[in-house]
Structure formats: structure tokens, C-alpha cells
């Protein structure tokens, strides 16, 4: 029986090569079909999890620790569904966004295919060294996507991002090397039972290195410096893919390691992570409120929203609420941020410039896009019934349950600050009188409606949130 787990990895790599073979700038249809098939596979995986529990696939038939295993539990399935669900509208969006013959899109399709292949491989892998290779695929593909187009600002941002991501991966790899030296294996399943709180000091150092490297890749404050330039200067579909999916991939790994092999030693760093997360929320929101460029506003918002994810760590305990909150935040923010960047891309397409002031008066011209932006803003602010509300509510619930009042204060402050920068854009669009001289061109319907679909999905996820979170429970009873 052909296994959807394997196809989730093979398909994107295949269509990436196909897109390259077709020539520069071609391959949009191949991409769309490929991602649709991948979404189908992800749904199959989710469905079979609900019936049968964790799915594994031993590559080569050898089985860990000799070979490499692919495994899908609830968390992985949710990430896979998120990836495919965000990627499909973005592929349609990108096809229309990059006008025919646009030099910036020459290698977008092969690079996007490799990125999706790397992401799927990352979510499914259970081998620490294999995870390093997938991290590199995701990292290099992201850098390639950021610099495609090639003006000096993009290339500088891409280089900064590349150096940061390479330092992060190398630290991760050093940690893996230490673990192999101590235990003789890099398979997560085999390592789990071997590591306890009496592990040699090298294991603590390895854990620290790996988590530090991954935090650098997730742009946790103070390692966020590469994110605003990179996400802010890349073309809109690229920024959407990066903010929605790529930074979540390294966060997923942190979560996987924290809840898996490094569980006995995790208490130490949890409060540090929460502190840095809080600073990230406040700092990122402050910069979003003050920046003049629209895409940078959205990028700083990503830095702030990623801070919420790190508030989860001190709360991970006997009950599952904090984990559910973190997962919901990942899903809701992924959909909302993709929608927001897509909407921003439409505004820039209309105005030709990337400035908040230029959003003036679009309420009349682009109602669908503005509505999409507002819906996405609902998730960022945490307004019911959006997914963001569910995530923040669960987080507050977990914090109150364990008596950590200051976390609640930070979460609410973050929501208020998010409201400030979202309304900043909306105010420009509605209240300021438009200057008719700055209009160019019509905006294709496809761009608006894909942005709207993503934003609506981020709200819908809040309405059906508890069912999605039930998927998360699969695989949590079995000690990972």
C-alpha cells in the first residue's frame, strides 16, 4: 500500500524538479497540482490517526536506530495539515502575483517545492541527524526565496538570515554530535528512555546547544534581528510562507525535543524562555506600531506573536492545556499571518509602494482584501471567535490554573498592542481621504480571494478548534 507519509516527502521534491525542468518562471500548474495532492495525503494521514493511532514508516525496512523512521502523531499531523493548507492558496496567489515574465519569479517554483518538501520531511522525521538535514533544506530554501529578485536590500537581508540560520543549525549539529558520542544513537525513540535527570553533563550541554540553535532559527528575542529585514523585504508570497510556516518548523522541533528526550532536564530553561517571549511580545509590538513600512509592520508582528509561543513552556505540565494553546497559536497565527502578508501584497500591488501611509483610501477599492486583513487582525488581537482568541484564552486559562499572574498581564498587554498596530492600518484605509493620483492598475480577483480564504480559515479554526485539538491528543498517551 502506498504510504501517504512517504508521498508527503516525495511529491514536493518531484514537482520541484519538474518545475526546474520546465524552465525559469514556469511550473505554477505543477505546483498547484502537487500541493493539492499533498493536502489529500495530509488529510489521509489525519484521518488514519483518528482511527488507528500513531503511524510510522520505517525507511528501508531497517527500523531505528540502524535506519531512519518517519512517524506521524497528532502534533505532526496538525503541522502537516497547516503546511499544506497554507501552501495551496499561496501557490495560487503566487501564480497571479508574479506577472508573466517577471524575472523575480524565475526560480520561485523549484525553491518553493523544495521548501515544502523540507517542511514535510521535518515534521515526519524521528532521527536527530535527519532533522538537521531537513532544517538545512528549509533554511536554504527560505534564503533562496528571500533573495530571488535580487535587489541589494533583499540580498543583504537574505545574507543576514543565512548566517543566522547557519549558526543555529551548526549549534544544533554540535548538540547531535555530543548526543551520539554519549549514547551511540541519534534516533529520538531510542534516546527517549536513555536520558534522565542523572545524565552526564555533556547531555545538558547538548540540550542547551540544540535548543539555543533552534531558538535562533525561530527568531526568539534577542535573536530576532534577522527576521524583520528578511520577511519585510521579500516578495509577499515568500514572506507569507516564511512567517506562517518556516519559523513554526523550528518551534515545532523545540517542542518535540522539550516534550521528548529532554523532558527530564527542561525545567531549568522554561522561565528564561517565557521571559524572552514576553520581551519579544512587547518589543515586537512596539516596533510594529512605529514602523513606516507595511511589510515590516507585519514582520514585527510575527516577532511579537512568536513570543506567545514561548510563554507556553513554563506551563507545560500535567494537563494538556498549555500544549493545546501553543498548537492553536501556531495554526491560527500561521493562517492569519499568511493572509495578512497576502493582503499586504495586494495593497502594494495596487500602490506600487510599501508604506503604511499609502494604504489610505483602499476601503473603497479593495473591500475583500481589507476585510481579509481585518479578519487576520482579529486572530492577532485575540478577538472571539477567531483561532487566536482560542489560543490566548487557553493560555490564560493555563496560566491562571498554575497561578502565574504576570503571564496573564503580558498576554493581555500583547493583545492591546496588537490592536494598536492593526487599527493603525485599518484607520488609514477607512478614515484618511484618498489621493487619486496614486492609483495604478486593477488588482486580480485571485489575489484578493486567496487572502480572504486564508483569513476566514484562521477564524474558522477558532470555531472548530476543539476538534482539531482532539487530534493533538493522539500520541500523547504513549510516552514519546
Amino acid at each position: 500500500m502506498t504510504d501517504p507519509l512517504a508521498w508527503l516527502v516525495l511529491l514536493p521534491l518531484l514537482w520541484a524538479c519538474g518545475a526546474f525542468l520546465l524552465g525559469p518562471g514556469r511550473g505554477a500548474w505543477l505546483a498547484g497540482t502537487g500541493v493539492a495532492l499533498q493536502l489529500f495525503c495530509a488529510l489521509l494521514v489525519g484521518g488514519s490517526l483518528l482511527e488507528g493511532g500513531i503511524r510510522t514508516h520505517a525507511i528501508g525496512g531497517w527500523g531505528a536506530p540502524l535506519g531512519i523512521d518517519l512517524a506521524a502523531d497528532g502534533l505532526a499531523a496538525i503541522m502537516l495539515l497547516l503546511t499544506q493548507l497554507v501552501a495551496l492558496p499561496l501557490m495560487l496567489y503566487a501564480r497571479t502575483y508574479f506577472a508573466a515574465g517577471d524575472a523575480t519569479a524565475h526560480y520561485f517554483w523549484p525553491l518553493a517545492g523544495m521548501l515544502l518538501g523540507g517542511l514535510n520531511a521535518l515534521f515526519l522525521s524521528t532521527d536527530l541527524f535527519n532533522l538537521y538535514v531537513t532544517l538545512e533544506i528549509v533554511g536554504l530554501a527560505s534564503v533562496g526565496l528571500v533573495v530571488t529578485g535580487g535587489d541589494a536590500r533583499q540580498i543583504a537581508a537574505g545574507l543576514r538570515y543565512l548566517l543566522a540560520t547557519l549558526v543555529g543549525s551548526s549549534m544544533y549539529l554540535l548538540g547531535v554530535a555530543l548526543l551520539y558520542g554519549v549514547y551511540g544513537t541519534v534516533s529520538i525513540a531510542t534516546l527517549g528512555p536513555l536520558i534522565d535527570s542523572a545524565a552526564p553533563r555533556a547531555v545538558w550541554l547538548a540540550a542547551g546547544l540544540m535548543l539555543f540553535g533552534l531558538m535562533l532559527k525561530t527568531a526568539l528575542f534577542p535573536f530576532h534581528y534577522w527576521l524583520p529585514p528578511a520577511h519585510g523585504s521579500a516578495p509577499a508570497p515568500v514572506s507569507a510562507l516564511l512567517s506562517a510556516l518556516v519559523v513554526k518548523a523550528s518551534f515545532y522541533l523545540i517542542l518535540r525535543l522539550w516534550l521528548g528526550p529532554f523532558l527530564p532536564m527542561s525545567a531549568a530553561a522554561a522561565w528564561l524562555a517565557a521571559l524572552l517571549g514576553s520581551v519579544a511580545i512587547l518589543w515586537g509590538s512596539w516596533h510594529a506600531i512605529h514602523t513606516e513600512r507595511l511589510k515590516e509592520l507585519v514582520a514585527y508582528s510575527t516577532v511579537a506573536q512568536l513570543g506567545y509561543l514561548f510563554l507556553v513552556f513554563p506551563l507545560l505540565g500535567p494537563d494538556e492545556i498549555a500544549l493545546q494553546a501553543g498548537t492553536m497559536q501556531v495554526v491560527a497565527h500561521g493562517l492569519a499571518k499568511a493572509a495578512m502578508f497576502a493582503a499586504t501584497g495586494v495593497f502594494i500591488h495596487l500602490n506600487g509602494r510599501d508604506a503604511v501611509a499609502d494604504v489610505a483610501g483602499v476601503a473603497g477599492r479593495l473591500p475583500v482584501t481589507l476585510f481579509a486583513f481585518a479578519l487576520a487582525g482579529m486572530t492577532l488581537m485575540g478577538l472571539p471567535p477567531s483561532g487566536g482568541f482560542l489560543a490566548k484564552w487557553l493560555l490564560i486559562h493555563a496560566a491562571l490554573r498554575q497561578g502565574h499572574w504576570w503571564l496573564v498581564v503580558v498576554i493581555i498587554a500583547g493583545s492591546l498592542l496588537a490592536a494598536v498596530y492593526v487599527f493603525r492600518v485599518l484607520r488609514q484605509a477607512f478614515l484618511v481621504v484618498p489621493d487619486e493620483r496614486r492609483r495604478h492598475g486593477a488588482v486580480p480577483r485571485m489575489l484578493e480571494w486567496t487572502a480572504f480564504f486564508l483569513a476566514a480559515a484562521s477564524v474558522a479554526v477558532g470555531l472548530r478548534g476543539m476538534e482539531i485539538l482532539r487530534l493533538l491528543a493522539i500520541g500523547r498517551q504513549v510516552p514519546a
Partner: protein
């Protein structure tokens, strides 16, 4: 100030790491025994090649994806806008050209040998590809091989061909069992097929990383 802080933390980190490494116990899991036990089913005689292309072949698959990806990135940056060219070394230097002309076929021979011997000793597709690429770079630096422009269809097929063959074999094996599960009696031939195609592609990819920018 920042310099002091970085150097100090680097020194502390090194001491901590070295101290931790000096007190390591013996590893619990002994993979070399497991590898040795399964060598007969792997299709090759050299343990590193067996690990690289059979037991952990998935890592190799993804690693080729990384390399191909870097090439896409280089192409995306090299081809947008005007191409700046590096001043090629003066082609009139007859000694260098003669040396390059003599060396190039020998390098091809060495590459094929490395590819073949990979089943029995250290060698394989990567080493072969690297030697081929070095030959191409040598010819370019001697002025005999011009830099490459945007790749035409044949070059594109050559570049991704090896990876596609690897994916095709992986997918074909998926139909019969697990991904990349070679039946033991076919394993040797499949590995040779994959290595040969990969060797060619890798040579082109590695050469391309240099030549697309020139």
C-alpha cells in the same frame, strides 16, 4: 565591549564542553555491530557506503536536495539582471592549457574509478562528482571552458537527472514495501545505478555552483 563579552563567553563555553567530554561513559548503543550484522543484506562491501546509500539512504536523498537547492539559489541570484563577469585568466598561457588538457581526461578516469570502488572501499558518487567538478573548474580557469549562462534543457536534465533517478527508485521500492527498501538480491545493482546517475549529476551541480557565476 561586545568583543570582550563574546570572547569571554566563548572561552567559558569551550572549557565547559571539554570538561564534559573528558568524563563521558561508554556509549550504550553500539551501531557498528548492527551495521556489521546487516552488511550481507546491504548489497555493498564497504560499511560507510552501506550506511550512506542503504541504511541511511534517506539522509543522502535529502542531502542531494540540499545541494540542488543551493544551485537553484545560485541561479536565482546569478541570472537576475546583468551578469557581472570575473576577468578570466589570460587564455594565452600555453603551459596551463596543456596541463589542463592532459589532466582533464585523467580526472574523468579517476572519477569513474572512485565511483566504482565505492562499493568496496572509500569512494562513491560524491567523491566522483567532486573530481569531475574539479576538472571542469580547472578547464575553466585555464581558459578552455567558458562560464555557463542560463541552463538549457539538456543541462537542466543533467542537473536534476540523478536526483530524479534516486526519487524514482525510492518511489518504486515504495510500491513493494517501504521507501528505499531494496530487495537484498537487487540492492547492489540499484545502488550502482543510483550512484552512477548521482555521480554525473553531482559533477554538473558542483561545477555549476562555480561556473554559473563566472
Amino acid at each position: 565591549m561586545k568583543r570582550m563579552a563574546v570572547v569571554l563567553s566563548a572561552a567559558i563555553f569551550s572549557f565547559a564542553m571539554i570538561a564534559a567530554m573528558l568524563e563521558l561513559p561508554t556509549p550504550v548503543v553500539n551501531l557498528s555491530d548492527v551495521v556489521a550484522a546487516q552488511m550481507a543484506a546491504s548489497g555493498v562491501h564497504h560499511p560507510v557506503t552501506a550506511v550512506l546509500l542503504n541504511f541511511r539512504g534517506y539522509d543522502t536523498l535529502l542531502e542531494i536536495a540540499v545541494l540542488l537547492l543551493a544551485l537553484f539559489g545560485v541561479l536565482a541570484v546569478a541570472i537576475s539582471g546583468t551578469k557581472e563577469t570575473v576577468a578570466a585568466p589570460s587564455p594565452a598561457d600555453a603551459v596551463v592549457q596543456t596541463l589542463a588538457r592532459i589532466a582533464a581526461p585523467l580526472m574523468v578516469l579517476a572519477a569513474v574509478y572512485l565511483l566504482w570502488i565505492g562499493a568496496h572501499r572509500a569512494g562513491g558518487a560524491f567523491q566522483a562528482g567532486a573530481v569531475l567538478a574539479a576538472g571542469a573548474v580547472l578547464l575553466h580557469l585555464a581558459g578552455l571552458l567558458p562560464g555557463w549562462g542560463p541552463p538549457g534543457i539538456r543541462l537542466r536534465v543533467g542537473l536534476v537527472g540523478g536526483f530524479l533517478v534516486f526519487l524514482a527508485v525510492a518511489g518504486a521500492m515504495l510500491a513493494q514495501g517501504a521507501l528505499l527498501q531494496y530487495p537484498p538480491w537487487q540492492a547492489g545493482y540499484l545502488i550502482l545505478l543510483i550512484e552512477a546517475c548521482l555521480g554525473m549529476s553531482l559533477g554538473l551541480i558542483l561545477a555549476g555552483l562555480f561556473l554559473f557565476l563566472s
